[in-house]
């Protein structure tokens, strides 16, 4: 029997800190006790989430999802799922601090078909009645980025806002920075996609 989807709502201001465990923001581990995958180039993907006026999003929740280092998913929708990295989860969750900052430990994803390497991010927060969706691209893959059909949907002037920036190193990990502006004028707002 066909059913209509349940309506979305905001997570509100009180998404529990008690839901988080160490390593939830580490995409390279299947679980807190599992060893990280040994494949791929490990990176720290970090940034700041702001709302209108540039004020930080406090206690916002970000969830990241990406392919493994070879561009595969352990999921029936991927015809090469059997070849996917068995030690890579590809999913992580982080909350923003008082300055709106978040961080994920992950690895550079691989591309697949016509998709350039990318990480999908969703942001939830108090007052965001529907979560927002965006995609992080990487400066390492300029040629693939130029051919990506999703990045091509974004106005050319806004495309650089979806490409992470080199942000030095921390504890031996290469850092990339990706800031999000939830609401702003056309020159500052992050491009978001329909769900």
């Amino acid at each position: 029997m066909s059913r209509l989807p349940t309506s979305e709502a905001t997570i509100g201001p009180f998404f529990p800190r008690t839901f988080f465990r160490d390593g939830d923001n580490d995409l390279t581990r299947l679980s807190a006790s599992a060893a990280p995958t040994t494949r791929g180039a490990r990176i720290l993907l970090r940034g700041k989430v702001t709302r209108e006026g540039g004020a930080p999003l406090v206690n916002g929740i970000l969830e990241a999802w990406q392919a493994d280092a070879a561009g595969r998913f352990r999921h029936p929708e991927d015809p090469e799922a059997h070849l996917a990295d068995p030690d890579f989860l590809g999913w992580g969750r982080a909350f923003t601090d008082a300055e709106g900052r978040y961080a994920f430990t992950t690895l550079l994803p691989g591309g697949y078909l016509d998709r350039a390497p990318h990480v999908n991010l969703t942001v939830m927060g108090a007052g965001l009645m529907r979560r927002v969706h965006t995609t992080v691209f990487f400066p390492d893959f300029a040629v693939a980025n130029a051919a990506d059909p999703v990045l091509a949907l974004v106005a050319p002037a806004a495309r650089p806002r979806l490409v992470a920036l080199a942000d030095g190193e921390e504890a031996g990990l290469r850092c990339l920075r990706f800031d999000l502006r939830l609401r702003g004028d056309a020159t500052e707002e992050t491009p978001f996609f329909e769900g």
């Binding site: 309506s7 709502a9 009180f14 990406q66 007052g127």
Partner: protein, 230 residues
């Protein structure tokens, strides 16, 4: 699976009056319609290992430590748009205590905290998509804005399904509460039938027994089969 755009009336409309964050946090530019590529059509299928599941009793924080409030059982199924149960979905639930206060550093209201209530749980759905929690009925609480309004008792649900496109965060309401009709968040959903689907069904006590009250709440995630069921 096919992920259709939602029919009109289901998604909440913003800004919500008296909730300034619905304005300051919501993108101004139109959302871009994109194809559903593999990244959108997939999600971790073993998320239960990452997050840890099985915490299904919010009403007992530790042996012998029972939360204050009306003990309730909330159960239902997680379904796709074909009405088929989704096995292995992760269901997260969080809520205020019986006095309407959250166990969260950001909630500094004067209502009491209950030392025996944290108010969050997480389970994995069974093969038929079913889930269940024991908890207590949460209290209502005022929204601290100039023109005060009250949130009716509600339970937050977050569901991780088989695709990132089917991820859902929603809120469940209790039938018959007079605050439901004037709740600005519930009423931001334009379609009356869609609002009704956010209200749990009270089970008759004869079905439930004398230990707790029972509610049923089914959750439908986006996604239907490419081939409709015969």
């Amino acid at each position: 699976m096919i992920y259709d755009p939602l029919p009109p009336g289901i998604e909440p409309v913003v800004p919500v009056p008296g909730y300034p964050n619905t304005w300051t946090h919501t993108p101004k530019q139109p959302l871009l319609r994109r194809p559903a590529t593999r990244t959108e059509r997939t999600a971790p299928l073993n998320l239960a290992d990452k997050l840890g599941c099985g915490d299904d009793n919010l009403a007992v924080v530790a042996p012998g430590r029972i939360a204050i409030g009306q003990l309730i059982h909330v159960a239902g199924r997680v379904l796709d748009e074909d009405g088929r149960g989704i096995a292995g979905a992760v269901v997260e639930l969080w809520q205020a205590n019986a006095a309407g206060r959250y166990f969260h550093p950001i909630d500094q209201r004067s209502a009491p905290l209950d030392p025996d209530f944290v108010g969050n749980g997480r389970v994995r759905t069974e093969a038929d998509g079913s889930y269940a929690f024991f908890t207590i009925r949460p209290g209502a609480y005022p929204v601290p804005v100039q023109d005060t309004w009250w949130r009716p008792p509600h339970v937050h649900f977050g569901v991780h399904g088989p695709a990132t496109l089917s991820r859902l965060v929603t809120q469940m309401y209790f039938p018959g509460d007079p605050l439901n009709e004037i709740d600005r968040i519930l009423q931001s959903v334009p379609d009356a039938a869609a609002r009704a689907r956010l209200v749990a069904t009270a089970l008759h006590p004869a079905e439930v027994g004398d230990q707790h009250l029972g509610y049923r709440f089914d959750i439908v995630l986006r996604g239907r089969n490419a081939t409709p069921p015969a």
